[in-house]
């Protein structure tokens, strides 16, 4: 019932695994409906340099994941966002009609990972700046490198807090004075 190419990818899926410290993670599906895919991407200068995935699902779901991971590698973010589920099915030499809906989620999972990457980028550049010198801060910095200020963060929304703030300016949570 599956094409030889589907079976080949099912038997020897490419790029299986997880990426440590990925630049983006996307998860679609749910074991209740039978298929679930988690995609991890690494991005450098707008190009997807590495893709890994883990998939719970039928033969088609595993083959689709493998195919998408191959298609996305080396592409720019913009190019990767243009990959469609239908293209993936075509590359695999077609899928049985009843599998087109439920197992053909690979492009969705990849796009979810890219969206996650873009969200993180935005946080890095605009969402999270040093309250003293206004230079961008990454998520895990505790000391601002340009001005050497110690950064305290809101326990609720994790945004950096101005000195002696009694209320988080981002989410409105009351801050206990030290």
């Amino acid at each position: 019932m599956y094409s030889e190419k589907v079976m080949e990818h099912f038997r020897n899926p490419r790029n299986v695994g997880e990426i440590e410290n990925p630049d983006g993670v996307g998860e679609v599906g749910n074991p209740v409906c039978g298929d679930m895919m988690t995609f991890y991407i690494k991005v450098e200068n707008g190009i997807i340099t590495d893709v890994k995935f883990k998939t719970f699902g039928c033969g088609a779901a595993i083959a689709v994941s493998s195919m998408v991971s191959e298609m996305a590698k080396g592409k720019t973010i913009e190019e990767a966002l243009k990959i469609t589920n239908d293209q993936v099915a075509q590359e695999l030499g077609g899928l049985p009609p009843n599998k087109m809906h439920c197992s053909n989620l690979g492009a969705d999972a990849l796009h979810a990972a890219i969206q996650d990457y873009l969200r993180r980028q935005q946080n890095k550049t605009s969402g999270c700046n040093c309250p003293y010198c206004d230079q961008p801060l990454s998520d895990d910095q505790t000391i601002c490198q340009p001005c050497s200020a110690q950064i305290t963060r809101c326990p609720e929304c994790h945004q950096p807090l101005p000195r002696n703030a009694s209320v988080c300016p981002n989410c409105g949570k009351k801050i206990k004075p030290k």
Binding site: F10, P31, V32, T38, F56, A61, L105
Partner: protein, 408 residues
């Protein structure tokens, strides 16, 4: 590559004796059993011999056997045929939630015809509680249909008790014996059922023949009308060769069943003992003791059933699964859901139905090949990764892309 067959619930190899018994009716004895000339006689004779052989297997009078083309047809003839014949008496029918779809799908048509259904649940082992049945019976109940044993989880129903309840309440009892026949002894008189279905394939006979046993004196509305075949209860020229094959298979089954039963019990026991030793997180489904020999139903957590089935097929091992992905309808097995198996875990279903010809070597081959397959699929599985990290593998944020849900 040697091929190993563990999917006897879906089809069985034909007994050589049954095959031989069929041949004359595919070649020289092609006559119509209803014809009065000499071409018709051997065909008529073949059908009546088969009727005797099958009646002998289940300890029933021969004229209580009605030939049909499949167990699905017998189930339809039983439920629709009895419902239409007895609608003057009432219009309420009770079936269990784990019946075969050829019973459950009929509820739609029969409801349109004005019948009312109660679908009674089963316990976590798949057994109908007789008390539940007693509560479901109403004054206008005319038929109860509860399978003898379940083909997917192997559970055997307390059919004798159910029959007593039906008799006391003046309700007809039909039972689908497709899974039970050929695996455990079936004595119609002892069971006390009014109607009983099974196909030739359950006896290692050919496809295209099945029977409905109907206790003498019970009326039946035919579904196929026309000639007077099967005494007007099922019109249409008989599939003589298949019926002859079924008769021979029944005769062999009657002689061999104790041997088959014991053999299957032993092989089944090996799988029950060894599989959990070799694979972690295996859940067996069905009743632990009241079960059919040769039916091994399990869920192997964190891997999906169709992927298991395909990988086993690559090793030459034929199996089945109740997962949504392996079904053409893309719905998880209603039987697994009815016994309370979580939807997510039902996707990990693997069903092994053994037959009389399976060997110890084949069981060992499976026990050898299955663990690495599970290991490989788990290494791909995000659920297994969560499990290894100590997280709940089945907990998801509400609204996480769930395509089936969106479509419904």
């Amino acid at each position: 590559m040697s091929r190993i067959y563990f999917d006897h619930a879906n089809a069985t190899p034909l007994l050589p004796e049954a095959y031989q018994a069929m041949l004359p009716y595919l070649r020289e004895n092609f006559g119509n059993p209803s014809s009065l000339h000499r071409f018709g006689h051997p065909a008529r004779q073949a059908i009546e011999t088969a009727r005797q052989q099958i009646a002998g297997l289940i300890n029933a009078p021969a004229d209580a056997i009605i030939f049909t083309a499949s167990a699905s047809e017998s189930n339809n003839l039983a439920l629709k045929g009895l419902a239409l014949a007895y609608r003057g008496k009432g219009n309420h029918i009770i079936v269990s939630a784990i019946e075969h779809i050829s019973i459950l799908e009929q509820t739609k048509t029969l409801k349109r015809l004005g019948f009312d259904f109660t679908i009674i649940g089963v316990d976590r082992y798949g057994r109908v509680d007789p008390q539940t049945l007693i509560k479901a019976v109403r004054p206008d109940t005319i038929i109860v249909s509860i399978m003898h044993a379940n083909y997917e989880i192997g559970t055997i129903q307390p059919l004798k008790e159910i029959a007593v309840i039906c008799r006391e309440n003046g309700v007809l009892l039909h039972s689908d014996g497709t899974a039970a026949i050929g695996r455990i002894p079936v004595d119609i008189q002892e069971l006390g059922v009014d109607a009983y279905t099974f196909p030739a394939t359950s006896l290692y006979g050919p496809k295209g023949a099945a029977i409905l046993y109907l206790r003498p004196g019970i009326r039946l509305n035919p579904l196929i009308e026309g000639g007077f075949q099967e005494r007007g209860r099922r019109a249409g020229t008989e599939n003589v060769a298949a019926i002859a094959g079924m008769g021979k298979a029944a005769e062999i089954c009657q002689q061999q069943l104790p041997v088959w039963n014991q053999h299957l019990n032993r092989l089944t026991r090996q799988l029950y003992d060894e599989l959990p030793r070799r694979i972690e997180r295996v859940i067996f489904t069905g009743h632990p003791t009241e079960r059919l020999p040769g039916v091994v139903s399990l869920c192997i957590e964190f891997v999906e059933g169709e992927a298991l089935l395909l990988s086993l097929d690559d090793e030459g091992i034929a199996t089945a699964s109740g997962s949504a992905c392996s079904a053409r309808t893309l719905k998880a097995s209603h039987v697994l859901l009815a016994i309370g198996i979580d939807q997510a875990i039902a996707q990990s279903s693997l069903l092994l139905t053994l037959g009389k010809d399976n060997t110890d070597a084949e069981i060992n081959f499976l026990l050898d090949r299955l663990p690495p397959i599970v290991q490989r699929l788990r290494s791909i599985s995000p659920l297994y990764a969560r499990f290894l990290k100590g997280e709940n593998p089945y907990q998801f944020p509400a609204g996480q892309n769930h395509r089936h849900g969106e479509e419904n």
